[in-house]
Symmetry: C2
Subunit: 360 residues, 2 copies
């Protein structure tokens, strides 16, 4: 596998990045936080949300620069990577707050025994939901609170206020980032990349991508091997909530190795995309995708649990509100535990199917 | 299997009842709520707690009268059963409150990431713990609260106050019951039973116990078949917490069929004890015991979750206290879900091993 495949992948992602940026500018949503058309996500059938496509390409460029850096111009790659990471991180915030609120409000409804969650609050709508390119949705779209207890309704309203505020700030930050000279410098570099990839050796030479891809896979496997997968494989091990009432205000330190595996799994997946080239994804990619989705749920539930705990520290809230937030926190920590169980299942199934010697 | 086995079992349980009663009187603990010696549980090695032995015999007598009633004098059995149920119910309350407090305080420590739960708060000590025959332990034996957050410590203190009060009342009620003429009438009847069992047909005749034992097993199997075991077999199904924030203040109605199965399983187990006679328990009895223990945990966690929810309705508690109680409630509801998963596993394993056609 020559560096030609690497150059081709980078050019394709750069082109994708520029296409998403053009779509964003044409939509006019970048005019200001409240200036654009609604631009709501249209589900899986409609066109891809431009901000999402931008994040997607930025993540792939950044990950590929990381894994295959020895084959690329060192100064260029080292200068480019943090800028792409900054961009995808900044663009991801608004969506993350929206999805977190969504998840918490849905959980409050589930915990209230209410199945009447409006359609636009379904996860599918969230994943393609409002983004940095559209104005934040107003609270008027909140689910009906008729079936909630006073505590659950107040907890929902408190979370809505807090996360909508955070989302609005993230929206402004994203718009500011997209208008900054820092962003224009990144965009210029990506435009150059779309036509010419600064390789360390000329295209067509014998340098092999596979050892670097294998190194990325090795980093993933090492990190997975260090996870407490035996515990995670026992249902109801009650591990995720162990520090649920700990005096430690920081996010659960036990989550960090899982978050790290999530990032390494993504890098491994992107590394494989480069190798696959025009062959497209195979069975293992499907398994990696499923395992990665479990780790996404792990991250989302972990952050939602933290958001509930933080909201409970709001001064002068009613005891009923605090109680509902406590139930919600514990519920999300159990989702964390469930995601670990699911990851262990997916990972093991993938390993067994491949016949590798790592049935962790 | 003739009625002789039934008569022999009833005489043995009646004798056990009288022995436990004599031990209780000799211990002098019946003098008053605070008059007796500590009489703390001594674990599995020491002598059996007399109140526990009394409850145990009363439950077996009551259950056997129920299952094998057609073979017994109808008027006598119908008059005796509710009195035995009253007695075992009254005697069980104090222990139940003590065990519930124990469970909740241990959970608070676990949720605070503290492993330093004092030895006398271990489950083994609870099961043979203070009973109606001893004065309630004072709060001085509570685990160290140094590792708890303010909320967890306050929640623990609130639960301690509430459940210790309930336990003290149950203690008084049990002592009052043991001194009542109603109790003396039951004890007199049991004394008669120890020498002569009022059978409908004379001992040694051909009446068979097996159809009645099979009927008890059939009632159990029907009730188990009606349980949502498919859902319970999926780990992290999030079913038990579905009404965790429901406006409905009553205990979770979804728990009732499981509680019913717990009682039917106990009746089935006692019915088998009568048949086993001197053969003693076999492999299936072990399986029934394990499955029954899962249902005991289900009941205990269900009631502990309700106690946390009720405590959270105390007026003027701090938000941090309410938050900790919310986390605790959700934690215990997940224990409910875990117990269902364990029961389904134990039950299925037992069914498969026996080769019966009920792999529910």
């Amino acid at each position: 596998m020559s560096v030609e495949a690497l150059a081709s992948y980078l050019r394709a992602q750069a082109t994708e990045f520029l296409r998403a940026l053009r779509l964003h500018r044409e939509s006019g949503a970048g005019a200001g936080p409240n200036g654009g058309p609604p631009g709501q996500g249209t589900g899986d059938d409609g066109p891809v949300d431009p901000a999402r496509a931008l994040r997607r390409a930025a993540r792939r460029l950044s990950g590929t620069l990381h894994t295959y850096q020895p084959l690329l111009d060192a100064d260029w790659a080292e200068g480019m990577r943090p800028e792409l990471a900054w961009l995808s991180g900044t663009l991801a915030q608004e969506h993350a707050y929206a999805a977190r609120l969504e998840r918490l409000l849905q959980a409050l409804h589930r915990l209230s025994g209410s199945s009447a969650v409006p359609a636009r609050r379904q996860p599918a709508a969230v994943s393609a939901g409002p983004s940095a390119l559209s104005a934040p949705a107003s609270s008027s779209g909140l689910p009906d609170r008729a079936n909630l207890t006073v505590g659950a309704a107040k907890a929902g309203a408190l979370l809505d206020r807090r996360l909508t505020l955070a989302r609005t700030r993230a929206h402004s930050a994203a718009l500011q980032a997209l208008g900054s000279s820092r962003f224009h410098a990144v965009a210029d570099k990506v435009a150059l990349l779309a036509s010419e990839v600064p390789l360390r050796r000329p295209e067509g030479t014998a340098a092999d991508l596979r050892p670097l891809a294998r190194a990325a896979e090795g980093r993933l496997r090492d990190a997975v091997a260090a996870l407490p997968l035996v515990t995670a494989g026992h249902p109801y091990n009650a591990e995720a909530l162990i520090h649920g009432l700990s005096p430690e205000p920081a996010p659960h330190p036990q989550d960090a190795p899982w978050h790290q595996v999530r990032l390494l799994l993504r890098l491994h997946r992107y590394a494989r995309e480069v190798l696959a080239g025009e062959d497209g994804p195979d069975g293992e990619d499907t398994h990696l995708l499923t395992a990665g989705e479990a780790l996404d749920r792990h991250r989302d539930a972990s952050e939602a649990a933290a958001a509930a705990a933080q909201a409970a520290r709001t001064p002068r809230i009613a005891p009923a509100t605090a109680y509902a937030l406590g139930v919600l926190h514990a519920d999300q920590r159990h989702e964390v535990e469930a995601a670990r169980y699911a990851f262990r299942h997916d990972w093991r199934r993938g390993s067994v199917r491949e016949g590798t010697a790592n049935p962790a």
